[in-house]
């Protein structure tokens, strides 16, 4: 009986990610030190910048909203055994759907525009995910490759549309006219003002609520419905799925439609909530950060929300850092974020074996006592 040793659940879910994060920060500290700044001061600046002020918290949660949507998108596909690298493109095209509703139906009452915008974002995002999904299900084209390529196609398509079709007449920069006031997501400070609380104005908006609702919905879907069960069976063991009468090709298409629809939620935050127009490259990498968020959050909605807030804080703290420390420029902040993604995402297992060994030694010592 060679049952592989396992970490206790709490260590799996919290200790391991924290160690990864810690190591990433130590490495970042070394780089900051080499650049001639104090790592401690830099981290203090990042933490206070991200979480120390109302403004910082607002921005952190605003960034986190994007990452929750894309993280959930990656996670749903993951549970079906699919690695969706295309959340970036799906968010981009999904945002187009939301933006078109806001541009052309934006004068209708907000409570009519909102559901239409949500729906259009989901449908456009799902449609963009459908093509790679269909190719995988029917033709066996590997979804990792096709979704990566569809990011480029999405970028080209959006550039064409923004430069040639949707551009505001009489202007140089490739972006649309501004949405009308009815097609704007209420900002958090406006909502707080209604109940008599004054907070600093930030881009944080109602889309954050939608992101949390999406997280709850994903949890119910994956773990509490038979469709989610079928999806997980197909992802865990496709032979068993066939045996159980579940069609893996259908699951592939279904899971990717949901995944694309979730990625499409990004437009609610970025376009309706913050930019109020469609502009070039508005997802700005959130689709890729979503992969790291999903990995770090163990593909569980709660974990994803926590990881998304962490990455939001990293973004906000990072921009604060490049603002206040002249030797650390914007690119340096990207390096720090990259280290966190590397350690928490790509190499999340490097400390698993030593940690497991440590726990085994501890539990054995306890037994021998």
């Amino acid at each position: 009986m060679s049952a592989p040793a396992k970490l206790p659940r709490w260590a799996e879910l919290s200790l391991l990610p924290l160690i990864n994060l810690g190591v990433a920060l130590v490495l970042a500290g070394v780089i900051i030190k080499i650049l001639g700044e104090s790592p401690l001061a830099a981290f203090k600046l990042m933490v206070t910048g991200a979480l120390g002020t109302q403004e910082g918290i607002g921005y952190t949660l605003y960034y986190a909203t994007n990452f929750i949507f894309t993280g959930l998108a990656v996670a749903v596909a993951y549970h079906a055994g699919l690695f969706n690298i295309g959340a970036e493109g799906q968010a981009y095209v999904g945002g187009l759907g939301t933006g078109l509703v806001c541009l052309y139906f934006g004068t209708w009452p907000f409570w009519v525009v909102l559901p239409l915008a949500v729906l259009a974002g989901a449908i456009f995002g799902a449609a963009w995910a459908f093509i790679p999904a269909w190719l995988q299900a029917r033709r066996g084209s590997h979804i990792v490759i096709t979704t990566i390529m569809f990011n480029f196609i999405a970028a080209a398509l959006m550039t064409y549309l923004l430069v040639n079709v949707l551009i505001k007449p009489g202007q140089q920069s490739p972006e649309t006219r501004e949405f009308s006031a009815n097609a704007v997501m209420p900002a958090a400070h406006e909502l707080f003002a209604k109940i008599g609380i004054t907070v600093v104005a930030t881009p944080l908006n109602l889309a954050f609520g939608f992101a949390l609702m999406a997280a709850a919905g994903v949890w119910i879907f994956i773990w509490r419905t038979r469709w989610g069960f079928a999806l997980r069976v197909a992802g865990a063991n496709s032979a068993a799925a066939v045996y159980a009468g579940i069609s893996p090709p259908r699951i592939i298409v279904g899971a990717m439609l949901i995944s694309g629809a979730l990625a499409g939620g990004l437009g609610l935050n970025e376009l309706m909530g913050s930019q109020h127009r469609i502009l070039m490259d508005f997802p700005s990498g959130a689709g890729f950060v979503g992969i790291a968020v999903a990995l770090m959050g163990r593909n569980h909605p709660v974990g994803i929300v926590v990881a998304a807030v962490l990455f939001g804080a990293l973004y906000q703290g990072g921009s604060q850092l490049s603002f206040d420390m002249p030797k650390i420029n914007r690119d340096m902040v990207v390096v720090i974020q990259g280290l966190v993604i590397l350690l928490c995402g790509a190499m999340e297992n490097i400390f698993r074996a030593p940690l497991t060994a440590l726990f085994m030694r501890l539990s054995r010592a306890k037994e021998n006592d």
């Binding site: 038979r226 069960f229 069976v233 865990a236 032979a239 159980a244």
Partner: protein, 522 residues
């Protein structure tokens, strides 16, 4: 590499044993896999190592072969204590192992496989020439003839196994470990293997035969070590014991090796197969012109060497593999023409316990409760208002666990944490609870311990007596002989003969498995 002449056939009684284990102890986390194992294998003897699945046999052999390191204890080879930290060190100490799943490069020749890893230089030609000469000597000394220039994938399974044995001998093995060597062989090939092992014994080699088949132990070994729950339960001289005695040592109580059952009373035809044909992705026919029918109240056994179409037949009937021709009539429908999927077949009353449980029958990472309803997850009883009814799912699993004595009785536990026998009992419970008219069942007791085998066999007989039809595919001939009322033998994708149980003998079936058409009355 040992170039000295073969050891004399009879070792003097005071010579140190070829391999001696002293107090081997190994833990994996909470699992105490080996507890103070001590035994010795003399040169020029065949030593059996027997025990249920999970008794610790494989762990022990993996320690001897250097895959694992023991927590405590000592391995002595010819009286000298050795440290074995890797298979390379095991080979250097003169220990060779033939794994159940062969470690051969299929598109290399026999010769290339034999020298793999011991080429002895940058250029291959020297090593190949030396190996060719050495293989010639081994063929003469041990009667181990192989076509040295044939590509391995073109050899029969029996010959591939012989190549594995030659690989070990070429590397100078004095102690040869064989892990479940007969699992993939026909009875005839198994006999050839035993002849080979006897000639190795005569040349002074020590052979360790790891198996769970009592018959083989009785046929070929000199001494037997019985393992139970990680410890040595008994060590006996083979000719002084009996299969029953060994079985008692393995499970700690008497076991019925023969199932008690009444003669079958076959009723109406429930399922009829006509000219069924299955082709694989390359268009090769894996199942040719298979026709038969299953009647209520009988168990039909399918015997055959693994890979002769039994799996394809089972899967085509269950719907997990599509048939390319023929018809399957069941419940008034033609399952082939109407392309009815596995879920719909289940709804019609056709249940399936797949051959390879872990690959197809369960999702190892999911809870027992989830697995106990896999395939029935759309049923009304497991859903309430669009959501899964978690309480009902758990309760249904607990009920199955209680009736089928699945231990531990914890629906929330991951399936992978259960032993093979308990997993199989849960799968069986799932399919039997659906109250099918026809149950297709593949390898019902593969990887299942003896206590559970008895239980599973009784349940299958009870199902038959309740007027259901069972189609049983098993590589264990004993199991088919114990359970089946009629026996089909498959070879090369065809049913090449049918035997009534009363006419079936091991010899007849063995010949038919090897492809010989025996004239029998249907």
């Amino acid at each position: 590499m040992s170039k000295e002449p073969a050891a004399p056939p009879f070792t003097p009684p005071d010579a140190p044993p070829a391999l001696e284990l002293r107090g081997i102890d190994k833990r994996f986390g909470a699992v105490h896999a080996n507890r103070a194992i001590t035994f010795a294998v003399a040169a020029g003897s065949i030593h059996g190592l027997i025990g249920e699945n999970g008794a610790g046999k494989s762990t022990l052999m993996n320690i001897v072969y250097g895959f694992h390191r023991a927590d405590a204890g000592e391995i002595r080879v010819r009286g000298r204590a050795v440290e074995i930290g890797s298979p390379q060190e095991a080979i250097a100490a003169g220990i060779g192992m033939v794994h159940q799943h062969f470690m051969l490069v299929e598109n290399f020749t026999v010769l290339e496989n034999v020298v793999l890893g011991v080429e002895g230089g940058a250029l291959l030609s020297g090593g190949l020439a030396a190996a060719r000469a050495e293989l010639g000597r081994l063929a003469r000394d041990y009667g181990l003839e192989v076509p040295v220039d044939a590509v391995v994938s073109e050899l029969s399974v029996g010959l591939q196994q012989r190549v594995e044995i030659l690989k070990a001998l070429y590397r100078g093995a004095e102690v040869l470990i064989l892990d479940e060597p007969t699992a993939v062989l026909t009875p005839h090939e198994a006999d050839q293997l035993f002849t080979m092992l006897r000639s190795l014994r005569a040349q002074g080699k020590a052979v360790i035969l790891v198996t769970h088949k009592l018959r083989e132990i009785m046929a070929v070994t000199d001494r037997v070590t019985v393992m139970k729950q990680g410890a040595v339960a008994a060590e006996v001289i083979t000719c002084e014991t009996s299969p029953r005695g060994l079985a008692e040592h393995m499970v700690g109580r008497g076991v019925l090796l023969q199932v008690e059952k009444r003669p079958s009373q076959p009723g109406a035809e429930l399922l009829t197969v006509k000219a069924l044909e299955v082709r694989d992705r390359l268009g090769v026919a894996r199942l040719k012109n298979v026709s038969f029918s299953l009647r209520a109240g009988e168990i039909v056994g399918i015997a055959g060497v693994a890979g002769n179409g039994q799996s394809e037949l089972l899967e085509a009937l269950a719907g997990t593999r599509s048939a390319s021709g023929g018809e399957i009539s069941f419940g008034g429908r033609d399952l082939v023409r109407e392309q009815i999927d596995p879920r719909a077949r289940r709804a019609l009353g056709l249940a399936h316990v797949p051959e390879d449980r872990l690959r197809m029958g369960v999702v190892a990472g999911f809870s027992a409760a989830d697995n106990a309803m896999l395939g029935y997850h759309d049923a009304v009883r497991f859903n309430r208002g669009g959501l899964r009814d978690e309480a009902a799912i758990r309760a249904a699993c607990a009920e199955k666990m209680a009736e089928f004595d699945v231990r531990p009785s914890q629906p929330e536990l991951r399936l992978a944490a259960f032993s093979g026998g308990n997993q199989q009992k849960l799968v069986l419970a799932r399919e039997i609870y659906a109250d099918p008219n026809v149950l297709l069942i593949g390898q019902p007791t593969r990887g299942v311990d003896i206590g559970a085998i008895e239980f599973i066999h009784k349940r299958l007989i009870a199902l038959r007596d309740a007027g259901k039809a069972l189609l049983l595919v098993s590589v264990e001939l004993d199991e088919i002989l114990a359970l089946a009322d009629r026996i089909f033998v498959m070879n090369g994708g065809e049913i090449i003969g049918e035997l009534a149980r009363a006419d079936a003998t091991e010899e007849k079936i063995g010949l038919m498995m090897a492809g010989v058409r025996v004239e029998v009355s249907p």
